[in-house]
């Protein structure tokens, strides 16, 4: 590997592995009831947030959904504050008021996630409008699922973003399902990108979940978007959710999909793949640092107090 390739691999691996391990730790801790909120885990889907966010600048902003841990972490959101948020603690990124579904870290450009499908898509578009209006050299990114593309606001948002040629990158994390319902039972045609192109927005699909390809596509798209022409871009990343829709377990026993369906994706696990590309000692250093960071973050969350009663009525109006 060339040096810059190696550096890229290291960065991507660190991000992938960190997200994976954080979520595995959430799974492990979950039965203890320390986590005070539902969790929609991204295990299996890490490559999307990792690849895309690697292509962004720190000053760029991202908007996402309740399945937002990966995006939050990949964009640089504070890990201890995220865990504290899951614990419902006063040091959480939303002071315990948001939980897993409402992560935010404005300093790092994580503008928030929403529990109502599709709602942050136009928010990202509006943010992009402000960026263009102020001629800032930043871009907005909207992460959303395949299900979100069925909401009317998605079509409205595409039209407005294209009409005003806004600096926004749309990223669809298509894991094939909305909860337990396959895309084919919800969408007349599976081809999301064709629908997007009908608004004049260049769109491409990355089928195989390869984090390098996602990164490259995102880098090219982000560069185009940042240059201001020709407006928005769309990337659809096919991916696979390995755990249940919400919660720490699996869902194969429900019968709506088979374990085999995810097998190919597990063989193609980007965490393992990139780990294997690194020399073992280098990898251990990274892994150990991650473990230490995670241990610290959970300890931080444990130690943080619950918000006092007085906080209930705070933050209503500014």
């Amino acid at each position: 590997m060339k040096r810059d390739e190696l550096e890229l691999t290291v960065r991507l691996y660190r991000s992938l592995r960190r997200i994976r391990r954080v979520e595995e730790e959430i799974v492990r801790v979950y039965p203890s009831d320390s986590i005070k909120s539902p969790v929609h885990l991204s295990i299996g889907q890490e490559a999307v947030a990792t690849g895309v966010c690697e292509a962004l600048e720190p000053r760029d902003v991202v908007f996402g959904s309740y399945r937002g841990h990966a995006m939050y972490l990949a964009k640089g959101g504070s890990l201890p504050r995220m865990i504290a948020e899951l614990y419902g603690k006063a040091d959480g990124c939303a002071r315990g008021k948001g939980g897993s579904m409402h992560l935010v870290d404005v300093e790092r450009g994580v503008m928030g996630t929403s529990a109502v499908v599709g709602t942050t898509i136009p928010n990202a578009v509006g943010y992009a409008y402000a960026l263009k209006h102020r001629r800032e050299n930043r871009i907005a990114v909207s992460f959303h699922g395949d299900g979100a593309t069925e909401e009317g606001v998605f079509a409205e948002s595409l039209n407005f973003a294209a009409l005003k040629q806004l600096p926004i990158l749309f990223v669809c994390e298509n894991n094939g399902y909305a909860i337990h319902t396959h895309q084919s039972r919800r969408q007349a045609t599976l081809d999301i990108c064709t629908r997007v192109r009908a608004y004049g927005i260049p769109a491409e699909t990355i089928e195989d979940g390869d984090v390098f390809r996602i990164f490259q596509a995102a880098r090219a798209a982000a560069a185009a978007v940042r240059s201001g022409s020709p407006g928005p871009r769309y990337i659809e990343c096919i991916t696979s959710r390995w755990l249940e829709h919400v919660g720490p377990g699996e869902d194969f026993e429900l019968g709506f999909r088979s374990r085999e369906e995810t097998e190919a994706w597990r063989k193609n696990d980007q965490v393992a793949r990139l780990g294997g590309m690194l020399p073992a000692p280098q990898r251990s250093v990274i892994d150990e640092a991650i473990e230490a960071e995670i241990a610290e973050a959970f300890a931080f969350a444990e130690a943080s107090p619950f918000p006092p009663a007085g906080e209930l009525l705070m933050h209503l109006y500014r």
């Binding site: 009831d33 005070k36 909120s37 539902p38 419902g88 603690k89 959480g92 315990g96 008021k97 948001g98 939980g99 897993s100 579904m101 409402h102 929403s114 529990a115 109502v116 499908v117 599709g118 299900g147 979100a148 069925e150 909401e151 009317g152 909305a178 909860i179 337990h180 319902t181 039972r185 919800r186 969408q187 919400v246 919660g247 429900l254 019968g255 709506f256 619950f306 918000p307 006092p308 009663a309 906080e311 209930l312 009525l313 933050h315 209503l316």
Partner: protein, 348 residues
């Protein structure tokens, strides 16, 4: 021998009976036919009645509500399900501008026999967007009916009544009520619009609890018993049309009212009840009252604050005690395990 069913099974049974009774009844919404079957309330129905009559939908609340109205105009009796009431906000235009107005706006030529089922969430980190009890938004709009049954018996009977009603009905469920069990007769019956129920008769204070807050009021009544305060508990069941007469008769007797909203209080159902009584009881002033409901903020996820966000049996009992005594007494009953509800802790 009395048969006992859960709230979940009561809803399922009512749906099943209505679908068997009337081939025009169709049931749809996100995930109604998936393995979790809206927490069991739609379990087995797709298999029994086929995918034409029971189907999951795209994530398109607005169009699916509009489609439901179209089906109703064509003579079907659609039941459109939302797993959380918060999502109905996406369908407000169709509900308020179309469903509520069609019969009137077209001079009676058309009508919209539509049922919209929606579930209020609570506990375990549901948070700001998964916990709203927005029924006052629908009570406000003439042309909609609104019902919020609190018992399995009412859930079954009200759903049957809603399906048979020729008008749009907002059917408001509560996630925590899903764990309730209660007497549910087999076969056919309806709990018709516009009739409240005196759940527990009493003399000194009237507690009106809406949706799940009915359960907390029933518990409060037991706490009050311990301190020899006799509370009457009323369940309005139907919020539109609202049986204000039953509540009025009670308050005329007890002279005291606590109304507990399962939602925010401003322009809420409690506001409407209090205002109606204030108008109707001008000949008998001097009754005492208190409104309770959600704290006037979005619902926080953390349990330390969520616990303070909701009224509960103990805070209701304390308020009633103060009302009866005429001044703050500083009394709060010790929590009784036998009255405590199974905590809700997923599945989400």
């Amino acid at each position: 021998m009395e048969r006992t069913l859960s709230y979940v099974d009561a809803i399922r049974e009512a749906t099943d009976l209505e679908m068997a009774r009337d081939a025009g009844v169709v049931l749809f919404g996100l995930d109604v036919d998936d393995p979790k079957a809206i927490l069991g309330t739609t379990r087995g129905l797709a298999g029994k009645y086929g995918g034409d009559r029971v189907f999951g939908t795209p994530l398109s609340e607005d169009a699916m509500c509009g489609a439901a109205i179209g089906m109703a105009l064509a003579g079907l009796r659609p039941i459109h399900v939302h797993i959380r009431m918060d999502f109905v906000l996406l369908a407000m235009n169709q509900l308020v501008n179309m469903a509520a107005k069609t019969h009137s706006m077209f001079g009676g030529q058309e009508h919209v026999p539509l049922v919209v089922r929606s579930i209020i969430g609570k506990s375990w980190g549901q948070g700001a967007q998964h916990s709203q009890g927005l029924y006052p938004l629908f009570m406000h709009v003439p042309g909609l009916k609104v019902v919020a049954p609190s018992t399995p018996y009412d859930a079954k009977g009200c759903l049957a009544a809603a399906v048979r009603d020729d008008n749009p009905v907002m059917f408001v469920e509560h996630r925590i009520l899903y764990y309730q069990k209660g007497r549910v007769p087999e076969g056919d019956y309806v709990v018709a619009p516009g009739k409240a129920r005196v759940a527990v008769p009493g003399r000194e204070v009237t507690l009106v609890g809406i949706s799940y807050m009915q359960v907390e009021c029933l518990r409060a009544q037991r706490y009050l018993e311990e301190v020899s305060v006799s509370a009457e508990v009323i369940d309005p069941i139907w919020l539109a049309p609202l049986d204000i007469g039953t509540i009025e008769a009670s308050v005329r007797r007890t002279g005291r009212l606590i109304v507990v909203d399962n939602g925010w209080m401003t322009c809420g159902a409690g506001a409407e009840i209090v205002a109606s009584l204030a108008e109707r009881m001008q000949d008998a002033p001097g009754w005492k009252l208190r409104r309770m409901g959600f704290a006037p903020v979005p619902c926080p996820t953390t349990p330390s604050l969520e616990a303070l966000f909701y009224p509960n049996a103990r805070t209701i009992a304390a308020a009633a005690f103060d009302l009866v005594k005429g001044a703050p007494q500083g009394w709060l009953p010790a929590a009784r395990a036998d009255l405590k509800l199974i905590e809700f802790k997923g599945p989400f």
